[in-house]
Every structure is written in structure tokens, then in C-alpha cells.
Symmetry: C2
Subunit: 202 residues, 2 copies
């Protein structure tokens, strides 16, 4: 699938992977090349990618999720719709994120970009990664749970220096089961003409 609007429309968070299907390095390269085409503040291109395939590192990352989940699960179960909670729980369990053959830790090099400008310079590149993965037929998922809640542990697993801020953990692999269609709010609900509160199109 190549048409850009089709790829965007089909994009879903994949939280359940088939560990028996390898992702070739050539596809990882296409995904990362796509990332580097994204815009960044003053074209600083502050992205850092660590491609993790080793079972040991993937297990260490999975352990960070398990520890965090035990801590947060009760609150999330209260706060989220049950279908979403179940889907998130899938990511932690068997055939979850831990079974994705490729994990890409995405960081921002703070020697290149101010921390305040890092998000607008990194997440567009991450979105390019997800779209490129989708166009190549792979499932993928952007997660920030570890970079928000377990950043120091994650940095240790992939050896990031103090000047590189981890900002996303991206999973890539074959979906273990078909992805359900996405649910989206109608455009009219989130779009305004000229001023907040005025219906668009006016």
C-alpha cells in the first residue's frame, strides 16, 4: 500500500505481534530513512535511533513495561474505556510488545536542539516511521510509557549518554491478529473557523 491517504487511514496502534515473522534490515532502513525526511526545529535533525533486536535487550525493555504496568494498571482500569484498557493490557502480555522483533528507541540529542524544541522535532519523524512501516505492511506502535515513566532505566538498556533524551519506544513487526478499524471523533467537533467555537467551514 503506497497511497499516502490510504496509509494514514489504515494506521492503527499494533500492540500484539507474531514473533515468528522477522523484519528485514532493509525495511528498518526504509522506515528510518523516512524518519529523517521529517522537519525539525531549524533543521537540527536531532533524532537518535537505537535499533534493538537482541532477545536480552527486548526482554529488559519488556520487564520495564511489566513493572510499570503493575504500578499503573488499577488507575488505568478506572480511567479508560474497557476496550482500550484491554488493548493496552495486550501490549504487556503474551504476544504483546515483547514479541515484536524490532524495537526502536528514539531519542533527541540535546546537544543539537533545546529540550523545549525536542518534541516538535522528534514526533513528526516518529510519525513518518509509523507511516512507512504501514506502507511496507508492518504493524507498529508509538509508545511513550517507558520514556515518560522509566527513562533512566531505558537509557541504561540502550546505553544512551546523558545528553540524549529518550522520547519514544517504537515497536515494529507482523500483527499477531488483524487490527480493528480506528475510532475517530468527527472533524467538525475539533475544527473551528477563525476563532474557537465558530463552526467550520464557516
Amino acid at each position: 500500500m503506497n497511497d499516502i491517504l490510504d496509509v494514514m487511514h489504515a494506521q492503527r496502534a499494533c500492540r500484539s505481534y507474531d514473533p515468528t515473522v522477522p523484519v528485514p534490515d532493509t525495511d528498518v532502513e526504509r522506515i528510518l530513512t523516512a524518519a529523517t525526511r521529517a522537519p525539525s526545529a531549524e533543521n537540527t535533525q536531532p533524532w537518535v535511533f537505537v535499533v534493538v533486536r537482541s532477545p536480552e535487550s527486548r526482554e529488559a525493555i519488556a520487564d520495564l513495561w511489566s513493572a510499570g504496568w503493575q504500578h499503573a494498571a488499577a488507575d488505568l482500569k478506572q480511567a479508560l474505556p474497557s476496550s482500550l484498557y484491554d488493548d493496552l493490557e495486550t501490549g504487556i502480555g503474551k504476544r504483546g510488545f515483547a514479541d515484536a522483533p524490532v524495537v526502536i528507541v528514539v531519542g533527541a540529542d540535546l546537544e543539537r536542539v533545546m529540550e523545549s524544541r525536542a518534541p516538535s522535532s522528534i514526533y513528526p519523524a516518529v510519525q513518518n516511521m509509523l507511516l512507512a512501516a504501514g506502507s511496507l505492511g508492518w504493524g507498529s506502535c508509538l509508545t511513550t510509557g517507558l520514556t515518560m515513566e522509566a527513562a533512566e532505566h531505558l537509557k541504561a538498556v540502550v546505553g544512551l549518554p546523558p545528553t540524549v533524551l529518550p522520547m519514544a519506544t517504537v515497536y515494529v513487526g507482523a500483527p499477531a491478529r488483524p487490527l480493528k478499524p480506528g475510532r475517530r471523533r468527527p472533524l467538525a467537533e475539533v475544527t473551528h473557523a477563525e476563532r474557537f467555537g465558530s463552526a467550520w467551514p464557516s
Copy 2:
């Protein structure tokens, strides 16, 4: 142009617009629909779009740029390569951002998402906007100068409530002149295998 990797490869920041070429609402709708297909933290979809076309509001936004530029220009001239400084200066001047027929202020609804999760929920949607604009043949530019440095003024121009955090100002229109090819660091320079510092592919 529809092929997703082609669109990504062609993406450039457009800072100079032809004010005589209107952007139809149908294209704005396609661009915003693309935005709403992006992922967001726990599928909260916290995006808020204000589509600004009126000359008065566009001029008010341009005035915020002028004021900020006068404040920052000397420092930027020191800090940036001259070609990039010149390109940024273009955005402030005649045929710059002020001549883009459509300005879209993108905000995060903090009643839907925690502020810490807003960037990873908003900038992927902004990237979809830029890619969709490119696939439709429009120039576009993601800017965060106003949302970083003049947020309260920008909120006033488009009437954002206190609970909506402005995160990007996106320009859309016909480029006033052909865009130069992008400059990117080689992938090998930013990609690591298993641990930071190990060459990829290993």
C-alpha cells in the same frame, strides 16, 4: 503526488507564499482529516484546529512574528548557518508566512490529555497535515515560534480557552518560488545497533 515515500522525500518547509492562489476548503478538509488519523495517547484525540483565513487575523499573527523576530534576530544570526537564517528571515518578510492564505493554529485540549502527553499526541497529527498538504501540491510549514514565545497573544487572536494549549502554527499555500532540495544527515550517523555508539546495521 501520492506515493508516501515520495511525499516524505519531497517535504520541505515552505516559508514564502504566493498570496494570489487560494486554497480551497475541500483541501483544508483533506489536510485536517489526515491529521485526525494520527495516533494519540490512549486515543484521546486531543487536537483542536482553528482555520484562519481572515486578513485581520492573519495580519495580527504576522505582527506577532515581526515583534518576536526583532527580539531574536541578532541571536539567531549568530547561531545559525547563513542560508538557514536567510530562509527563516524570508518567513517574516514580504511574501513570507503573512502571505499564506491559510493559517491553522493547532492546539491540545488539556481536558482530554495530560500536558506531558500532549506533544506525542499532537505533532504526529501535524506531520500528517504537512504530508497531506504536500500530496495535494501545497507548500506548508510547521512553526512553533509563536506557540513557544507568544502563546498568550496567539490564544487571544484565535480565542482559545485556557484549557487549550497552542502547540503549532501551520501555514498552507502555493510556494512563491520552487523549494530547494532538503539537506539531511546520513542515516548511519544517527542510527545505532542495540546500544548507542554501535554501528548499524551490525
